[in-house]
Amino acid sequence: MKIYLPLDSAAVALGADELAESLMFQAQARGITLTLVRNGSRGMVWLEPMAEVVTDAGRMAFGPLTLADVPALFDDLAAHPKALGLTDDLPWMKAQTRLTFARVGVIDPLSLDDYKTHGGLAGLTLALAMDKAAIVAEVTNSGLRGRGGAGFPTGIKWKTVSEAAADRKYIVCNADEGDSATFADRMLMEGDPFTLIEGMIIAGLATGATKGFVYIRSEYPIAIDVMQKAVKIAADAGVLGTSVLGSSHTFNIEIRVGAGAYVCGEETSLLNSLEGKRGVVRAKPPLPALQGFMAKPTVVNNVISLASVPVIFEKGAEFYKNFGLGRSRGTIPLQIAGNVKHGGLYEIAFGLTLGEIVDKIAGGSASGRPVKAVQVGGPLGAYFPRALFDTPFGYEEFAGKDGLIGHAGLTVFDDSADMLKQARFAMEFCAIESCGKCTPCRIGAVRGVETVDRIAKGDASAIPLLTDLCNTMKAGSLCALGGFTPYPVMSALTHFPDDFAPMKEAAE
């Protein structure tokens, strides 16, 4: 008997480890030889912990499981109270276009054989036969843009590093996924770590870099563990090392762990952190592509950007480019979170409207109350009201509505949310996490909290002051922390003025 049960953080946080123990114990008691594979999550977090039993018809899903549901998994499966049917037939799975996440939840994350059987290393094998310029051109043609949030064309970044002359170059993977509502990097690293490794090696071939770092936040203990094991396995198998897949190319990867600073998700502070310094933002220029880690040319890419590279090579740039809308090409792993009925990871071509995502895919709020606002793009993203639910999911489309898609995380709030409180939190968070370099961010955020408090007390004259402060922060900060904190604040103020109405408490 073969059962898949995720090792994914969300599944574990909901009891997967205890279930695994119980499954092994119950199988043994019945004299059944059980192969238990700890896989990644399929992304249906509301069904976690979700086990899949391998049957002749395919993998059958069961969830959300409790310990009491375990014994029945050894009886008539169709009669199991938590039976969901075949995983591939579930509506959530069927409607997706899984390119980057094709293997997540399907394979054993730490089996290189399983990885190869499901198309792994095909992209790298093709890339090894290409020259640097051709590899860069392929990525450029795919239209891939930085999935970390900035949306900078990946191919152009690679070209800059590729053409820079230096004795050493680096590939740095930004796995400091600190935005609330985002967990795609975590799920990818936990569920299909070799894809990230493969993407990094291809980036190395394209640029001439021979060393890569994955900077993972310390809040992700399981992802760190899986990545460390995967790098070891890849090195032992000759995928990494002085002869990548038997070629003359060298590439090595080292896993580094962050230390709880949100700002280190910004590429230049990440580089400082990686160098062993305080995670203070650097001014640009010089670009990291020319002077990055240890002042050497460095590619800094998000996990999802790098993990999308293998499939682009395997299936071709044209294939990838054909998904999406406008200048947002390919697929995007939406992370649907917060107060939602169906939360989790949903990979689809760009272009769905916000309303389709929230009402149809997520099924509305978990509380059953009306959805009031959706924060898109993490703590630095704008709050969207229902009136803007027709906005199509794309970089330019969201920017056009004074928002951003960021790392494609969506936090849904029901009508119990107080948007003044959310605006205050945005400023408070910025004050806690500011690296301190830029005054508008360091001091402005503290003044911002005080100003929101004045508004809460009924001082309407503080509203223009808050607007002015936001403009100063936006224009006077080097990075997105100070520069984008105005997005949640101003969107809350603009779209939900009632929550900022003077003397609202006194009037009630």
């Binding site: 953080s9 935005d179 985002t182 762990v257 936090t411």
Partner: protein, 155 residues
Amino acid sequence: MLDSVDITSRLEEILSAHKGMEGSLLPILHAIQAEFGYVPQVALPIIAQDLNLSKAEVHGVMSFYHDFREHPAGDHVLKLCRAESCQSMGADRVAAHAQKSLGIEWHETTKDGRVTLEPIFCLGLCACGPAAMINGKLVGRIDEARIDAIIGGLK
């Protein structure tokens, strides 16, 4: 608290294990905290000398990052996510309950030294919030009852 002789001998081993590593200060601080549960301040000048940095630079790095503690934590560390997705599911209410039942604020340790309460900004459990981490173990969908069970279950 450990005495400085214990610390310096173990510290030498940690430093030599990180020789030649590019940008080794964070890995060194992580290793020290993993070993002692905090970063003893007597270690800073020794690290500084080893890495050819000033003591102020090492102190600056250590104090910049939320993860590194100057003093030992309580026997158990309870971290509660304060980020937006968890807020949308009632994290503020759950945190207020935890603070009340422990009788402490953020970053404080109960008088008996048993529990330290800390905020954390995102564990990546945003679709099953509110989320918590107790002694390194992840917990999703917490509520007041779950907090009581967690606190009650601590030895």
